[in-house]
Amino acid sequence: SNFGVAGKEVTVGGKNFTEQYLLSEMTGFLLKEEGFKVNQMNNLGSSVVRSALENGQVDLMWEYTGTALITYMGQEPVTDPDKAYEIVKDIDSKEGIHWMNMSKVNNTYALALRSETSKELGIVSISDLADYINKNPGKLTIASDAEFANRPDGLKGVEKMYGFEMGSSQIKQMDIGLTQRALNNEQVEVSVAFETDATIKNYDLVTLEDDQQFFPPYRAAVAISQEMHEKYPEIEEITAQLSDKLTSDIMRDLNYRVDIKGESVSVVAYEWLVENGLLEEE
């Protein structure tokens, strides 16, 4: 049934890009199935959902290990995903947040170029990019969302590690959904991309090799408030069904259906859950 038993209520938080809409929606479906009344608080910046989780406005969310490690906790990048997960889990246990169900989805940041630009300028790695920019300052512009432009694991960190700098007027900031479009429309030369983005393939873009391994792994996992976890321990099992099955490729595929084919988030989420036997068709 879709009707929650009195008191069995959770708020699922979500960030402002497609993968997150999908993850929240799928989680919501599963929880509803188990008799929870589910509130969604979607469409938020990373740190906003995070602080909502901290202060109890949000009960659980899908978070990425790398994001937590660097942006929230200010730690050094860790290349091993399981190690990273443990560190994050450990630190957050003191914050009243419980991590569980790390999936195989690795949605890391990437820098993308149009493949023709890449060929023309001979840029295939971020080091190439840094070289080019240092030789031709002010020539390339980058499309980024507000987060990437300002996060320590974002542009600032990349610049620092690779040793280049983009002037503030070279950084075109916009909604995360539009960066690849801006690139494709030749309004910028570089854009930020997510590894699971479907648009990369679709637009004939290439992602630059992170040859100095700046970006840590960004494994999607469930972060839930300790309180909620203790109150409803069954949530761990419910969400495990998802984390067990999801991979970056599946995520990319689902993103493709939403972003490129224009299907509705809930339809895509619902159909996938049904196809994979997590939900019975009504």
Partner: protein
């Protein structure tokens, strides 16, 4: 067109749900704004000194860009752990409604023909009788105009509330932007516009219903 039908078939329940959220947010904000603004507007007619400063403050409030006000609400309300969602959006909308409601109430009561007021006093009406029987009825059309302005304004501004997690129709539009989905954007905008038009029409009906025929010129 066919695409639209398919889109609506899938999304209609969600659009409806968000529309209701949006309407509830705005309605609650307006009700609270009315409870504050109308008595305040009436009181201001008796205190010129205060009227000047209150109206000035209210008019400055209205110049604050909506995204800025919503944004500033986050750190402030985080102090009580309510940084995102309904409460900050609600408070921002109440603030935005104050100017049209206070100003229109104030000017409407103020502009009630002084001779009419005189006649009422001269007939031995007490202050509350005068307010209820003469001043408010005659000021109603102008007060309602203020309410209508506030409602239409709030329905529009409510869209921005999606950025601080308050839900509502802004969700459709912001997701539409993120996902480059014009169907979402357009359906969201049309829902907002319709909501505004319907709300305005309903308020106009209420206004006509409660305005005695005597005031219809």
């Amino acid at each position: 067109m066919e695409k639209w039908l398919r889109f609506l078939e899938v999304n209609a329940p969600r659009i409806l749900e968000l529309t209701i959220d949006h309407a509830v947010l705005v309605t609650l904000a307006i009700i609270v704004a009315l409870l504050i603004g109308v008595p305040l507007g009436i009181y201001l007619t008796t205190n010129e000194y205060l009227a000047g400063s209150v109206l000035q403050v209210a008019s400055i409030t209205l110049t604050i860009p909506s995204i800025a006000l919503f944004g500033v609400m986050i750190p402030i309300f985080s102090l009580i752990n309510q940084g995102i969602g309904f409460l900050p959006a609600f408070v921002a909308l109440v603030l935005y409604s104050q100017l049209p409601i206070i100003r229109n109430t104030y000017t409407a009561i103020k502009n009630v023909n002084p001779e009419m007021r005189d006649a009422a006093i001269g007939m031995g009406m007490k202050t509350h009788q005068r307010l209820l029987r003469v001043e408010i009825p005659n000021a109603l059309p102008v007060i309602m105009a203020g309410v209508r302005t506030a409602v239409v304004l709030n329905i529009g501004i409510g869209v921005i509330a999606a950025y601080i997690g308050a839900g509502g129709l802004g969700v459709l539009i912001t997701q539409g932007i993120s996902r480059g989905d014009n169907y979402l954007i357009i359906s969201g905008s049309i829902a907002v516009a319709l909501l505004a038009i319907i709300a305005d029409a309903i308020l106009l009906m209420i206004q006509k219903r409660f305005t005695t025929k005597g005031l219809v010129e």
